[in-house]
Amino acid sequence: MEKNCMAGTALPGDILEMNASDLLTQGCKTVSVADDAEANDYVLSLGISDGLPIVPPTPEAVAQVIKAGGRDPRALLGEVPQRQRSLSVLQAATCAVMAGIRPEYFPVVLATWDAVLDPSYNASSSLSSTGGAGITAVVSGPYGRTIGMNSGAGLLGPGNRANATIGRAIRLGAIGAFGAKVGVMDASSFSHGGKYSCHFLEEDPPLPWLPLRVREGFPAESTTVTVVPTDGPRQLFHGANASAEAVLRTFAASMRDASHVGAGRRNNFLVVIGPEHAEVLRDAGTTLEEVIECLSRESRVSAEDLERAGIGRPDAASADLAPDADGYYVTAPAEKIRVVTAGGPGPGWSVVLPGWAGAGLGRFVTKPLIVPGADTAQ
């Protein structure tokens, strides 16, 4: 297979013209089943299911999805070199159909794979860890709205087909193409609900704050996908007063929870600010840079904090635990915090998603979305 991520070009590999041998070369075998029930039983028997029913990926359905993505089905999206395994567009599309996506969601699936298969994401370790990291993704930009993604009430839970199935398409690909089966190459001790899907749309923030895609260096009219391996979301509440400083302290209190494996270990954090908290912070004239700087500073932990939590003082065996100039252990350096606005109205809810496992083990990666026929990234 050849690496080819160009969009908008002709698709020389029409899978409906390929025979079973060609399809197998691209990473998919062809099987005959009597009906949906048998298709589901078969996928379960192979251990490549997430446990929920799948939509049978017929060649016709897969071809439709591939067309919507605009890439040659034979193109290689990337590989996990530590597993010596790769992913083709055909495999990604097959898993996406299994997950139940509409064809127009596929550009988001492809951009997500572009990000997850970037070496900085560290797919091999994060897919296999006992820490049970999920693949968390923020879609930022107009295409997310076009396909009906949810940035509002209940965005991290059930109810929206795009949010639910795009993330599921990625998880099924990780299982099917990279062998991330529970108990084998996925050693999650507990796992969490976000491993089924944790894809959501950023609500463009209140001015003058800039959306994530712009802060990541992309044009405002583009759409991007930002991924990071995380634990499950931790919902936090602050409705007691309207002080920006107090709101930020509540966020930091959640982040510096010493029981989390990332406490004091220079971890990633995705912070999702709910609408009331965003308004309080914006109205106080706080910039997003100030928010991030404050969260980084206030989420530091002391050796005493770690001792009180039973963790014990850091020692030489914990190579990633080193104090800063003030003697604190940094839970989240500013460059490892991403803040986005999303969520529904309430009396004062927000969410933090702690990154998985501390320093060096997986980073934020942002990739632009490419939609066939469009002049630029969408």
Binding site: T58, G176, A187, G360
Partner: protein
């Protein structure tokens, strides 16, 4: 009804493992420590036993706490080390790294073996399978290791020493 099903696709041809030739004298041991709690203790204990037996005369440690060893790091280590032991695979991601690093050193020409705990044998086998050597010889120790005493590491090192030497092709036992 016809349907498609994803299968795994290998990206590289399978490399051969290093030949096992008895070194015939004391060697330099390379240790790749995956940074997990007490991994260093287990590797040090094995190294100490092999030194006491006169098989190892020096050891070099590469600490890789967050990612697999790069090709350059492996080359630097194996330039000086005759044999390599990696460990301890006692979680998901660290087991993948530990087995991967041993197998890569081996496929690059230096006999190696990996120490993993029994609970993570399935994931170790997943890596062995993925890299094309499903029967790759590794060392399995009880799980967990992070709660153990210094005496336990010393005893376990004694117990596994012969298997370590077998895996590395060392047949002379002074």
């Amino acid at each position: 009804m016809q349907m498609l099903v994803p299968v795994t696709v290998r990206t590289k041809t399978i490399g051969s493992l290093a030949p096992r030739n008895d070194p015939g004298g004391p060697v330099v041991l390379g240790l790749i420590d995956n940074g997990r709690v007490r991994s260093a203790d287990m590797l040090a204990a094995v190294s100490e036993v092999l030194m006491k037996r006169g098989i190892v005369n020096d050891s070099i440690t590469l600490l890789k706490a967050d990612a697999v060893a790069t090709e350059e790091e492996r080359a630097e280590l194996t330039k000086r080390a005759d044999l390599v032991i990696t460990g301890v695979g006692s979680c998901g991601s660290c087991t993948t790294r530990t087995v991967h690093d041993a197998m890569q050193c081996d496929m690059e020409g230096t006999p190696a073996t990996a120490i993993v705990t029994e609970m993570f044998l399935p994931i170790a086998r997943g890596v062995m399978d993925a890299l094309g050597h499903p029967d790759y010889p590794i060392i399995v120790v009880p799980h967990p290791v992070w709660t153990r005493s210094p005496e336990w590491f010393a005893q376990t090192a004694e117990l596994i020493a012969d298997q370590v030497l077998d895996n590395l092709g060392v047949t002379s036992r002074p």
